[in-house]
């Protein structure tokens, strides 16, 4: 199929889902007339009609909750919450209803709901539009949390999510939408239990997900030229975490840096680091390092935003320090 953008990949996945299953519908803010804030549903209103492409009011809690209800009622809703920042207004529905109802009802009700949202910083949109909270969501049992970083995953994980009987939350890093990649048809369908090794290496494991994957790969490139062979693991599923792929990598390289755009304290990186140390402590040649965002609201000016976020140089430095260079 060749190169397509991440945006086109999401759109392709949505379109396939809408074409193949009449119970699938899309709702969210500006998904219809506007064509999606990130143009992921451009043209859908004409193609699929207003019954299945539903523009909602700015009522995050209610349209996410309506997604839960519609799923309980036999539909296969895809809810687009424009960005993770606005998903905070829907936390009640996500944490108190979507995540609990199956277990709390003794298994009587499943909620086959997919919620997609853009996440992440790096576009100079300041503190209230730059959150990376997928790690928070991964804290919650009862839901599945995905962070596709490649065009293949952007399409394939969405399609896989629509096969899941329980709520799935997909975090699409906003920085990735215009980026191009090679769509790998052979990698479909995506297995939602497996992390992916994006680059094989022997000296150190760079463990990451989402928008930070590309920074880790860039760092790995630089390191390669210095003679350091870095393996890059794309977690891509934050819950349930595939720790075995991580451990296999760490057991091979004996060193690990976890890169996570979330803030450091209580970060997803902290969880990954803890799990490595709980299980593979004696395989390590040094402590697990973390590259996370600096603990400030993300500022608007580019130089400050860049400084606040994980960057390839910071990853390279962390590797140097771990390897005693």
């Amino acid at each position: 199929m060749g190169k397509i953008t991440y945006r086109e990949a999401v759109r392709a996945g949505l379109r396939e889902a809408l074409q193949s299953n009449p119970r699938v519908f899309l709702m969210g803010e500006d998904v219809g007339k506007y064509g999606g804030t990130y143009a992921c549903s451009k043209g859908f209103l004409d193609e699929f009609g207003p019954e299945r492409i539903r523009d909602t009011p700015l009522s995050e809690s209610t349209f996410v909750g309506a997604g839960i209800g519609a799923a309980l009622g036999g539909m296969r809703p895809i809810v687009e919450v424009m960005t993770v920042n606005f998903s905070l207004l829907a936390l009640d529905q996500i944490v108190n209803n979507a995540a609990t109802i199956r277990h709390m009802s003794g298994g009587q009700f499943s909620i086959p709901l997919v919620v997609r949202m853009a996440t992440g910083a790096g576009r100079q949109v300041a503190a209230q539009h730059s959150h990376s909270l997928e790690g928070w969501y991964a804290h919650i049992p009862g839901i599945t949390v995905l962070a596709p970083a490649t065009v293949t995953d952007a399409r394939g994980m969405l399609l896989a999510a629509l096969q899941e009987p329980d709520p799935v939350f997909i975090f699409e890093h906003a920085y990735l939408y215009p980026l191009e990649g090679e769509l790998d048809e052979s990698a479909l369908p995506v297995d939602l239990t497996q992390a992916a090794v994006r680059r094989a290496g022997t000296n150190i494991s760079l463990i990451t997900f989402g928008g930070s994957l590309w920074k880790a790969l860039e760092a790995a490139d630089q390191l390669f030229h210095e003679g350091i062979s870095a393996e890059v693991v794309d977690l891509r599923i934050l819950r349930p975490l595939d720790i075995s792929t991580v451990l296999a990598s760490v057991r091979k390289t004996h060193r690990a840096v976890v890169i996570d755009e979330g803030w450091r304290t209580g970060s997803f990186a902290a969880e990954v680091s803890a799990q490595i140390m709980e299980v593979a402590f004696y395989d390590l040649d040094g402590p697990v390092a973390r590259i996370c965002s600096v603990e400030v609201p993300i500022p608007y000016p580019k130089h400050l935003e860049d400084a606040a976020l994980p960057q390839p140089e910071k990853i390279v430095q962390a590797v140097h320090s771990l390897m005693g260079r």
Binding site: F25, E51, R54, T56, P57, S59, S61, T62, F63, V64, G65, A66, G67, I68, G69, A70, A71, L72, G73, G74, M75, P77, D92, Q93, N96, N97, I101, R102, H103, M104, S105, G106, G107, Q108, F109, S110, P141, G142, T144, P165, D166
Partner: protein, 327 residues
Amino acid sequence: MTLVVDRDHGWELLRRMLRIRRFEEKCAELYSGGKIRGFLHLYIGEEAVAVGAIPCFSSEDAIVGTYREHGHALIRGTPMGPLMAELYGKANGCARGRGGSMHFFDAARRFYGGLAIVGGGLPVAVGLALADKMQQRRRVTACFFGDGAVAEGEFHESLNLAALWKLPVLFLCENNLYAMGTALGRHQSQTDIARKADAYAIPAEAVNGMDVLAVEAATREAVDFVRAGQGPYLLEYRTYRFRAHSMYDAELYRTKDEVARWKQRDPITLFQQQLRAEEFLTDADLDNMETAIAAEIAEAVSFAESGSWEPLEDLTKDLYTPAKPAG
């Protein structure tokens, strides 16, 4: 005054209200005895609402309730045994004992909780109604909530969305005048809840929630309206909770006089008087009714007592739907 009810139906309404009242009195006793723990929000005083309203819905319709939902589940038809067992936390409860008092569920009767975050059930009800509309089913979703919920954003968002999309949902506000301990006038600038629906172009009506026949008549009409595809409707049942918010509170927020005044409007006492005035009810009838209910409760308690605790190895069972076997 003429009673617009025949004897059999009158009996049934009375019996249903008594069933809730006696069940909950037993719950209070069992709570004091330590058999029931956690929160226990009793419905005593408000029985006319569930009894008048719930039977207006068909078995295909959906019910979304709150944490004060014992009466709703009973009237919906979940047998008393599994409800009592749920209160005990036993595995033979209506939610395997996982939820307790606030989280009754019954998929077979389309009873979707028992959702205990105030206002949190409204969006779910809107979604259930959306699913029905999209699948061209002539079902109605009953969405119960209290006066406290009207202060939540989800109330306003849900009314707006349901009206905008003309969804078959019936919003049923059980206004017992207190959001826990905060009186309606202390949390609402507009205390006439039915009027709030105006802002969303939703027809609404306030009903005497202590009068089971008034509740029934208004609900039946509202269900017909919604089922006819005319969009949502809001009913405000004006009622009163005789007991504490949960099992015990100091009731500093209301006077004993106020409670006593409302108790004079006890829906069960009033309805009994009506039936007696029509010579539809004798002391012997009432005794028989009470005896049958007491037997049902005794049986429910023994069902709960004899239930087993969910095994520890099932702690995380049902968190996710088990994968279908391959092939």
